[in-house]
């Protein structure tokens, strides 16, 4: 099955038509995500999909930085 475009998936996600799991599984990184889940012994689920998206987006984690994380300031 052909992967859907990022723009289409973003639109569907914003409209609440799909969740994070569909967002990833219907995109072009579906196989990579499934491999990541397999390697980590976790099932593809909403939480895992959201985490996968967050960890591959540089803007998503600005607020996760903790005080003990030296030299890891993001912009």
């Amino acid at each position: 099955m052909m992967a859907e475009t990022y723009e289409k998936l973003v639109q569907l996600k914003q409209e609440g038509e799909i969740g994070w799991l569909d967002f990833v599984l219907r995109g072009e990184n579906s196989d990579d995500f499934k491999q990541w889940c397999e390697d980590h012994g976790t099932k593809p689920c909403e939480d895992a999909a959201e985490f996968y998206v967050d960890m591959t987006d540089r803007k998503m984690f600005d607020h996760q930085i903790l005080e003990d994380d030296d030299n890891e300031e993001w912009y």
Binding site: H40, E50, F51, V53, R58, Y75
Partner: protein, 301 residues
């Protein structure tokens, strides 16, 4: 690091942003404004094409990953701030703010790509565990097994850590969760740690593991017998303090439930370790103070 055959949509977006930034830098250099982009569209495409072309790796990670495009650049908004970035197997890594010392060293070409990668992307260059090792390492140092462990985002808006990632673990009847550090999140994502290591590190004291208390050591000159643990008859809680001899006593600190459990029931922590955990600064301060001065302060109290 997971070997990625394709770039994620988010990474593509990040790359597009990076390309825009580079284009903006180029524009600033030639000072021709917007028209540069319009008139030089073929040149821009050529530049993008060139960027995608193969480059000799600047380093090969211990996992065989190829690092390319490693470089530092100043922030557009705050030119005094510099960021470091690179690509690993073609995947653009998040730019990370550099220390001033590293910026100077980078500009003088006194710091290698290897050192920069180790400092700013430690989990990307660290040795990965195999998927089999990752899935198998679920036994804690006291023999118990992790029944479940996962990473999740806090969805409860009433909680202070709403929207942040937390580690959840279930060990026997105990179900515990805690906010995760960025380092641990990366280590988990890049598979350079294991469930047992993550749980020991984050929940060691709550699980009353002896390994969690090994890092606490009494300062030289203080003996175990100097540490006193006493029960407050009014509230029933256990307090700890240290008799420092001539320099007086430390203040009393109330033990947490878990530390009390580790001391009295699990017997995985001793008084010395708990004194070091609760009173290290005070003990050091008292030891470093002039005895007479401390004595006077003690008399006032």
């Amino acid at each position: 690091m997971v070997t990625k055959k394709k770039k994620t949509v988010k990474q593509q977006r990040a790359e597009q942003t990076a390309t825009k930034e580079q284009t903006a830098e180029k524009t600033a250099e030639v000072k021709t404004g917007e028209k540069f982009h319009v008139k030089n569209e073929p040149a821009k495409k050529e530049m993008e094409k060139a960027q995608k072309e193969y480059r000799e790796p600047q380093m090969i990670t211990v996992n065989g990953g190829k690092v390319t495009h490693a470089h530092a650049f100043p922030s557009k908004d705050k030119p005094e701030d510099w960021y470091y970035t690179a690509r690993l197997d073609g995947i653009q890594l998040h730019p990370i703010k550099m220390s001033k010392e590293d910026v100077t060293a980078y500009q003088k070409k006194e710091i290698s790509v290897e050192k920069m990668m180790e400092k700013y992307y430690p989990t990307k260059v660290a040795k990965q565990v195999t998927p089999e090792q990752f899935k198998a390492d679920r036994q804690l140092s006291d023999g118990r097994t992790i029944d479940k462990m996962n990473v999740y985002k806090e969805k409860d808006e009433t909680k202070q850590d709403f929207g942040k990632y937390k580690l959840y673990a279930q060990v026997g009847e105990q179900k515990i969760s805690q906010l995760m550090s960025w380092k641990d999140l990366n280590a988990y994502f890049d598979r350079v740690t294991t469930p047992a290591k993550l749980v020991e590190k984050n929940f060691g004291e709550r699980l009353h593991l002896a390994s969690a208390y090994e890092k606490y050591k009494l300062p030289e000159g203080i003996k175990m017998n100097d540490v006193r643990v006493s029960k407050d008859k009014q509230n029933g809680k256990w307090n700890i303090f240290v008799n420092m001899g001539e320099v007086g006593n430390t203040n009393k600190k109330t033990l947490s439930f878990d530390d009390g459990y580790s001391l009295f029931s699990a017997k995985t922590a001793d008084r010395g370790q708990l004194a070091a955990k609760y009173l290290m600064n005070e003990m050091t301060s008292l030891l470093n103070h002039h005895p007479a001065e401390t004595q006077n302060r003690g008399l006032k109290v």
